[in-house]
Each structure stands twice: as C-alpha cells, then as structure tokens.
C-alpha cells in the first residue's frame, strides 16, 4: 500500500471557548476517496477548511505531499506552499464573479503557480472539456446555472492538479437532478491519482463511491472504515442513530 499523501495528527480547533475539533487523526493515500459524514455542526466542514488553512487550527501537525507543518506555528510561506498542493470545491461554487469561466480556471495556474499563460489556457480548456463546460469558457459566472457553476468549480480545482482535492458539500446548494449530475462527475474522477476528501450528506454516494468513510460527531472521529463496514455494521450508537434513516431507506438495495 502506498504512503499517505495527507497525514493529520491530533488536530485541535476552538472558536472562542467552543472546542469544535478535539483531536483529529487522518491518513489519506494517493487516489483514495474519503467521505466525511456527520450531522451539521459536528465539525466536518471546519476540519476540511483547516486542511487548506481557510481556518487556522490551534494545534496538531499536517503533512501534505512530503511537507509537514506544526499547525500552531505555521508561517505564511508554509501555508501558501501547502495550499498550492491542494484545491477546493465549495458548496456555493465560489467562482470569481469578475472573471470568465476560462479566467476562473487559469487564475490559480498563472497567478499562484507561475504557469505560462498559453500552457494554463490549454490545461484549463482540458479541465473544462472534462466537466463539459468548454463551450461556455467565455461566459461570466452569473450567466450560468448552479449546476454549471459547480462544474466550473470542479474544473478549476482539477486544473491545478492538486495532491489533495477537498470537496466541501459540493451538492448541497443544487436541485436533486443537478445533485446527481455533479455526483456522477465526481465519481468519474475516482481513478485519478489525486486524493479526494468529500464532506457530504449524500449517503448513497458515500456508500458507493468512497474508499473509506469517516463519521464525525462533536469534533471527534467516531467511526472510520470501509463503507460497507461503517454503514452495514456501525460500532458506535451515535453512528447507528445517524445512519438509521438512510440504512432503513436503502437497506433492501444495499444490505441484503
């Protein structure tokens, strides 16, 4: 088994007096897809945002693709270097509103990574092709539907060829039809060498698509393992209760 591309040790994070992450450990290998599940407020999005320093964790260590930092004394330079090994797909897409679809994708390449313009455009168009948005490369975000914007959001992340790709509830703002489209698109990335960490409420997707599933509650990882173990035989009472509705719904399809 290959070495982990992302390693988190004992990550803590508080907002004021509220401790929202109470010692998280995680290892993700290249190409692996990890689904982060849990009820709202359990800390899963905060944890994801700590991985690219959109939130500053209070303590712990983080290693991505060979670079390790102690989170309580991460310097600007370390943060920038680590961020450039990752990319993120947002719940509300977060496309730059002043830039076209193509510029949205090239921005991180040319400005943050110093890729020459022509090369960046080629890479961007390839990513946009992959998500089926190449035809709209000159459009501005406000001219696109939510589903289309999220496709661009995914292309923007893919073009960076990150070691770790972070998805923060990528389908939570979409209508049910578009949810399926975007999930299919994410599913199609399964065999890429990029490690994927997905915060999601789409249980069926996590079950089918993830290599490992993590269940978080109150700032801790309660359960971790292959989807069929976590869904089929949750060890923890809290996990069982959270998954109950889903497993009761889907049991005939998945568990018999």
């Amino acid at each position: 088994m290959s070495e982990a591309v992302l390693t988190v040790r004992n990550l803590h994070k508080s907002f004021g007096k509220a401790e929202v992450l109470r010692g998280i450990d995680l290892e993700v290998r290249p190409g692996e897809t990890v689904a982060l599940l849990g009820s709202s407020g359990c800390g899963k999005t905060t944890f994801l945002r700590c991985l690219n320093f959109l939130e500053k964790a209070d303590s712990g260590t983080l290693a991505i693709a060979g670079q390790t930092v102690h989170l309580q004394r991460a310097h600007k330079k370390d943060i920038l270097a680590l961020r450039r090994k990752t990319a993120m797909v947002f719940q509300d897409y977060g496309l730059y509103r002043n830039k076209t679809v193509l510029q949205n994708v090239t921005e991180g390449l040319t400005v943050a990574r110093g890729v020459p313009k022509a090369q960046a455009v080629t890479r961007a168009l390839k990513s946009l092709e992959q998500v089926g948005m190449a035809a709209r490369s000159e459009a501005y975000p406000h001219e696109l539907s939510g589903g289309q914007q999220q496709r661009v959001g995914i292309a923007r992340a893919l073009a960076l060829e990150p070691a770790v790709l972070l998805f923060d509830e990528p389908t939570s703002a979409l209508d049910p039809e578009k949810v399926q489209e975007i999930l299919d698109l994410i599913r199609s990335l399964k065999d890429t060498p990029t490690a994927k960490i997905i915060v999601t409420h789409e249980m069926a997707f996590a079950y089918e698509c993830a290599d490992s599933v993590i269940f978080m509650d109150e700032g801790l990882i309660l359960e971790e393992g292959a989807p069929k173990d976590v869904f089929g035989n949750p060890k923890n009472e809290r996990t069982r209760r959270f998954l109950e509705r889903f497993t009761a719904d889907k049991a005939p399809e998945y568990f018999i």
Partner: protein, 231 residues
C-alpha cells in the same frame, strides 16, 4: 429679471469652472487614495488601528464641511506665518493661495466619505470570494488586487458619484475663504449692480450642469460594469 445680466453672470461663473472642478477633483482623488487603504485597515484584524480610524471617520462625519473649512482657515491664519518663519521660508499667509486651505478641508471630508464608500463596497464582496482565491493559492495581495478590488467597483460607483457631486457643491463654500470659484465668480459680477438674484441663478445653472454631467458619466460607467458582470 435682467436676462442680459444673467448671461453676463453665467459667463463669469462658467469662467471659474476650472477652480471649482480642481477644488472638487483634487480632494476627491486624495479621498480615494487615502480612503481605500483606510477602509482596508478598518476591515483588517490589526490591533488598535482599525478602532482609531473608525473614531476619526466618525468624528469627521459629524462636522459640517463649512465649519471644518473655517477652522482650517483660522488655524492657518494664526499659525502659518510663524511656522514659515521658523522654517526660514519667505511665504506669508496673505500671499497663500486660499484654495489650498479650502482644498485641505474638502480633502479631509472626502477621505472620510470615500472610506465609508469603500467599506460598504468591501462588505458587498462575499467571504466565498476570499476563500476561493486563498484556496487556489493566491497571496493576500494577489487576492485583493485581482479578485476583491475589481468586484468593489460596481457596488462603489453609485455612492462615489454622490460624494463627487457633493464635493462639487461643497466647493462653493470655498467662496467664504475668498476663493474665486463658480459661486464667487457670479457674485463678484453682481457687485456693481446688486443683481444678486441673477448671479445666484447663474451659479446654480452652472452647478446644475456640472452635476448632471458627472451623474451621466457615472451612469455610463455603471451600465458598463453591469454588462460585464452582474453583482
């Protein structure tokens, strides 16, 4: 109504348009240059400084421009000569171009006003834009220059237009400190015949035309912004 004199006064007022415009645009430009960094610092998490600046802006906002200008004038008249002497410079307050004093007061006003405009425009850019830029590996400066500032233009335009129009009109107060602007130009023309009503109407017509022009230029800019990207 003496229409012949109205025409004369109108010409006298129009001849002073450059004085009024420089009294409006120089403080306006300075207001943008100082107001923008002030707004950025106020939004930052630096210690103390944001609060100090917020207090200063609140203080300035609460003082009428006319009062500020008169205070500047009195202060300058009392201290300028002594200050220049101590520096060994030959300049005196009597020879000092009083539009500098008026301009200084208008600059203070414009800076506070533009700071508030930029603060509003900054708040109009959602946090997700910062998140997306940082996540892509852009530095703080790159994020500001390439993502945030361009998005502040559209929300800032309507209020910026208001401030500029207010400055053009406030420049009339400079006539109080013996600057010959549009207002004073018209009034001086009436000094011989006491036809002040015509002079005031002439000045009003010139201000009205200037403000209309500015508002239309801004309207065009707003349209252009809206076409490019809706915010």
């Amino acid at each position: 109504m003496d229409f012949a004199f109205l025409w004369t006064a109108l010409q006298a007022a129009a001849a002073r348009i450059p004085a009024t415009l420089s009294l409006a645009f120089v403080p306006f430009a300075a207001g943008i240059l100082v107001g923008l960094p002030t707004a950025l610092v106020r939004r930052s998490s630096l210690p103390v400084l944001p609060n100090v600046l917020a207090g200063l802006v609140a203080l300035i906002k609460g003082i009428p421009v006319v009062l500020m200008m008169l205070v500047f004038f009195v202060l300058a008249s009392e201290t300028f000569d002594g200050f220049m002497q101590s520096l060994g410079l030959p300049w005196t307050f009597r020879e000092l171009d009083k539009s500098l004093v008026a301009g200084a007061a208008l600059t203070v006003y414009a800076t506070a006003a533009m700071c508030e405009v930029f603060r509003g425009a900054l708040a109009a850019v959602p946090q997700s834009q910062y998140d997306a830029a940082y996540a892509a590996g852009l530095t703080g400066a790159q994020t500001l220059r390439r993502i945030i500032l361009p998005q502040m233009v559209a929300p800032a335009l309507p209020m910026t237009c208001n401030i500029l129009v207010a400055l053009v009109k406030s420049a009339a107060i400079a006539s109080l400190v013996s600057v010959v602007d549009v207002m004073n130009g018209a009034v001086i023309a009436a000094a011989g015949n006491y036809r002040f009503l015509e002079a005031y109407i002439a000045a009003a017509l010139v201000y009205w035309a200037l403000c209309l022009l500015i508002e239309n230029i801004f309207r065009l800019a707003e349209k252009k912004c809206a076409r490019r990207f809706a915010v």
